[in-house]
Amino acid sequence: MSQGFADFWRTIYRNKKSFSGVIILAVFIFMAIFGPMLASLDMTVKFDNRYASPSWSHWLGTDYGGRDTLLQLVYGSRDVLTIGLFAALFTLVIGFVVGAVSGFAGGRTDTALMFVTNLFLTIPSFPVLMIVAALVQIKNPVSFSFILAVWSWAPLARAVRSQLLSLKNREFIVACRIMGLRMPYILSREILPNLTPYLAINFIMAAQGAIVASVGLMMLGLAPYSPTNWGMMIQLAVQNTGGIFNPKGYIYLISPILCLGLFQMSCIFFSNGLEEALNPRLRSN
């Protein structure tokens, strides 16, 4: 196991792209954990100082109320990363397990699981979220992520299932089955590595989607309004600059978008190495 782990890291390290991905990701995580301790964010309005250009005191300039953009991004990163990563994780786990079991087991299990999946695809989210909002107040990011994931796992489950239908009849899986290996083993040891590149992309997209969708939950009143959430920052920037109608606001508008994009890019680059680490044939290619 430790050998495999070292191997894995070596592959990541050798791949320039994925190594840079890891570095950026590490910076983000460092920022989320220690950022708020290193600098304090002052959200007091200083209107005359709005849309300031980047400078030594404001590295990314200021927002529509003259507050430091970078510090807001740093402060927001903890919740945003937690929400993004957890929501994506929940989505992936539920989606993969339901889809894989359904596709692999077939028969009644498949019928039942797909029935539930299809229901989740068709039930409108608005009434449910409104009902939930009336009953509970979400305070921690993990339960927040869970609610987001509830609405996003179903499409993935279907996609995974359709891959399984094809995979399970391949020689190596058939061989496993003949050898009498049990389903959890086959799914985790044989199927999962095969689907990694595909799942990785889905993970990244789910994280991104969750960050954007969290704004929607806040605006329904399901969670307290947080102006430093990156998704909310983008929304506020668009609202205050009209998107493209205020040239002074471009840097402010672009900053959270860039931050989100950078986070996504680091994930994509990292997954690039992941593909090679898990799929040795690609290395020789």
Binding site: T44, R50, G65, L220, G221, Y225, N246, P247
Partner: protein, 654 residues
């Protein structure tokens, strides 16, 4: 790698295009400032003869509006969803029109008015026709009120008589509202909306039902035409109204200068009414209304000069950028009769304590709330919430009353000492603790679709938190927010305060505080009575007895009931002084800032006597709030979509 190359080209092209797009519209004709400096706009302007039209040859007035999209669209303005607020004024008229901000009343369908003892006699213009050709007569005015018997004014009337086709007599109850209020009550309705010949069935039915009701015994209760309408009858009246709203013609029928021509989901076309009774007052052949909900798309339309007139105030920098990009644009500001504000929920502890409410009020720095909520708004740091539009405080209140009002200007020391007075203390962590040693955590609620409210409430929450009272904002879906806030689910709730959307007089804004929206959000108690079975019944009537300006206890509900009938102006002034002082003193809410809204003219396509012409160049086409009455009137006319004038008659195609 073909793709790579094309990708780069595309990016370069996109960038070039973007830069070109943002660098102005390459105006081929001189902008407004250049025209004024060239002396083109000196003296009174006159409509441009047809053969000299250069920029709007088709004589189309292009604006924005909204309406229920087909197949939901129907022609009855009272039907579900209406026909679109802003489109009302082009097609429909009332007896009068009042000008928001001045409360001046002008004749429209009324030619003249006489006030007799207990009556108001209106002589109608002759020769006014509905869009389908039928004449507009006194019967139509009568029909309007018999059918639409929930209209405010019917509470003060005993009957409406029509001695002949062109005379309407409104008979007032005794005592009648004071003269100015009478006028405004009639002027706020659009009486030319229910053509009797189209809706006879429903009007007669409603009239018959009303005739079945007995008069009320006294003036302690209100009813249409002073009638006591039992529940069963009321139900029949409502059902008849419902039938009426469902029966409308497919297209609107009014008396106004423009007739309905066509509607799609995105566009509405109105064309000039050839039979209009004031043919000289119409300068446009068509009105083209676009339905564009997205603000940025609206800005794009404004910027590119695709609209003649636009209503709205974007954030400061967008506004300035639009003016810069299009040299033909001219922007005017005017007061909204409403303020963005916060209300304390006195049903929740510790908000029932006036000192606590006052302490929080001292914490707010209103200039910052305004800068983020709406830069162009105007804050009044001294008041909490008075029930009077802040911009008219000085004219409505006596100097004496104003002098006696508590001054709530930002003062953290004062806030701290008030908190200490009621047993609160500040911990070493900078957080305040209640007398029980507990650190509170409060929620401000705001409707999610109200941008100025959400944005300023967020700053308010931050200011309280910074002061040491942890507070969070909750932006709640607007479909449930108001019901929740009325039930008292939030510690503090956002809404328009000191507001009178109709005519702007203290009576209508005080009604909001003590009887309507503010009352529900603050949570004033109601008079309870014991029912026959011993259960408690909420009468819905305000139960608020507080110390007045002279120290004597005031029954607020009683004062409010008395108000409209007080004929003596000085006595009314005393009531206003007292009720406004009480509201400010008890600090049930905070007026963050009075809203200011804007109107845009595209001077390339629309000509006329632009208000405050001499200030256009020096203000860079971003006009300041008007100072004089004449200017205020002219600017208010620009707000034609709202309850005031039909503007296009004062402007014409260029």
């Amino acid at each position: 790698m073909n793709l790579l190359r094309s990708g780069k080209t595309w990016a370069t092209l996109a960038l070039a295009v973007f830069v070109a797009a943002m660098s102005g519209c390459g105006a081929s004709s001189p902008g407004l400032a250049a025209r004024i400096e060239a002396g083109e706009l000196q003296g009174a302007q006159k409509p441009v003869p047809d053969d000299q039209l250069k920029f709007n040859k088709e004589k189309i007035f292009r604006v924005l509006g909204g309406w229920p999209k087909p197949p939901l669209y129907q022609g009855n303005p009272f039907g579900s969803g209406g026909i679109g607020d802003t489109n009302n004024r082009y097609m429909f008229e009332g007896l009068y029109v009042f000008i928001r901000s001045t409360n001046d009343v002008y004749n429209v369908l009324a030619e003249s008015t006489e006030d007799g003892p207990g009556t108001t006699t209106v002589h109608l213009h002759k020769g006014v026709k509905w869009h389908d050709g039928a004449p507009f007569t006194s019967k139509d005015v009568w029909a309007y009120y018999r059918l639409n018997n929930g209209a405010d004014v019917t509470k003060y009337l005993s009957s409406i008589e029509t001695p002949d086709d062109y005379t309407v007599v409104f008979r007032w109850l005794d005592p009648a509202p004071y003269p100015e209020l009478k006028k405004l009550l009639l002027a706020q309705d659009l009486q030319g909306q229910i053509p009797y010949h189209l809706y006879q069935k429903y009007v007669d039915k409603a009239d018959g039902l009303l005739k079945q009701a007995k008069p009320l015994p006294d003036r302690s209760k209100d009813g249409p035409f002073h009638l006591d309408i039992p529940d069963e009858l009321n139900k029949q009246i409502a059902l008849n109204w419902n039938e009426f709203t469902r029966s409308g013609p497919a297209v609107p029928v009014g008396t106004g200068p423009f007739k309905f021509e066509k509607v799609t989901t995105t566009d509405m076309l109105l064309s000039r009414n050839p039979d209009y009774w004031q043919p000289d007052a119409v300068n446009y052949d068509k009105i083209w209304i676009k339905n564009v909900p997205e603000l940025s798309a609206q800005y794009a339309l404004v910027k590119s000069g695709k609209l003649d007139w636009y209503d709205g105030t974007p954030p400061k920098d967008i506004l300035e950028s639009l003016l810069k990009l299009n040299p033909d644009l001219l922007h005017y500001r005017m007061y909204d009769p409403a303020s963005v504000g916060l209300m304390y929920n006195i049903r929740r502890k510790p908000f029932e304590q006036v000192k606590f409410r006052q302490a929080l009020t001292y914490v707010f720095e209103k200039s910052k709330l305004r800068e983020i909520g709406n830069y162009y708004g105007k804050e009044y740091p001294k008041i909490s919430m008075t029930g009077i539009m802040p911009s008219s405080l000085e004219s409505e209140l006596s100097a004496e009353a104003l002098g006696k009002m508590t001054d709530y200007t930002h003062n953290p020391e004062k806030a701290a000492s008030l908190l200490q007075e009621i047993g609160w203390s500040k911990g070493p962590d900078g957080l305040w603790r209640d007398p029980g040693g507990h650190v509170p955590s409060f929620i401000i609620g705001a409707p999610n679709n109200w941008v100025p409210g959400v944005n300023s409430a967020q700053i308010a929450a931050e200011q309280l938190t910074r002061f040491g009272i942890p507070t969070k904002l909750k932006a709640v879906d607007s479909t449930i927010y108001f019901a929740n806030a009325d039930k008292g689910l939030y510690d503090m709730s956002m809404d328009w305060v000191d507001v009178s959307w109709g005519f702007q007089n203290p009576w209508s804004s005080l009604k909001v505080v003590y009887w309507d929206g503010t009352k529900k959000k603050v949570g004033f108690p109601n008079v309870k009575k014991t029912g026959a079975d011993g259960s408690e019944i909420d009468t819905g009537r305000l139960d608020l007895k507080v110390a007045g300006i002279d120290g004597k206890t005031v029954d607020v509900d009683k004062e409010m009931r008395r108000f409209p009938y007080v004929q003596e102006e000085s006595e009314r002034k005393a009531i206003i002084d007292n009720l406004a002082w009480i509201a400010n003193e008890n600090c049930w809410g905070v007026n963050f800032f009075q809203n200011v809204t804007g109107a845009w003219i595209n001077t390339r396509t629309m000509a006329g006597n632009y208000p405050m012409m001499d200030q256009i160049v020096q203000s860079g086409r971003d006009m300041p709030l008007p100072e004089t009455d004449a200017d205020r009137l002219a600017v208010t006319h620009l707000n034609h979509g709202f309850n005031s004038t039909f503007m296009p008659r004062e402007y014409w195609p260029r």
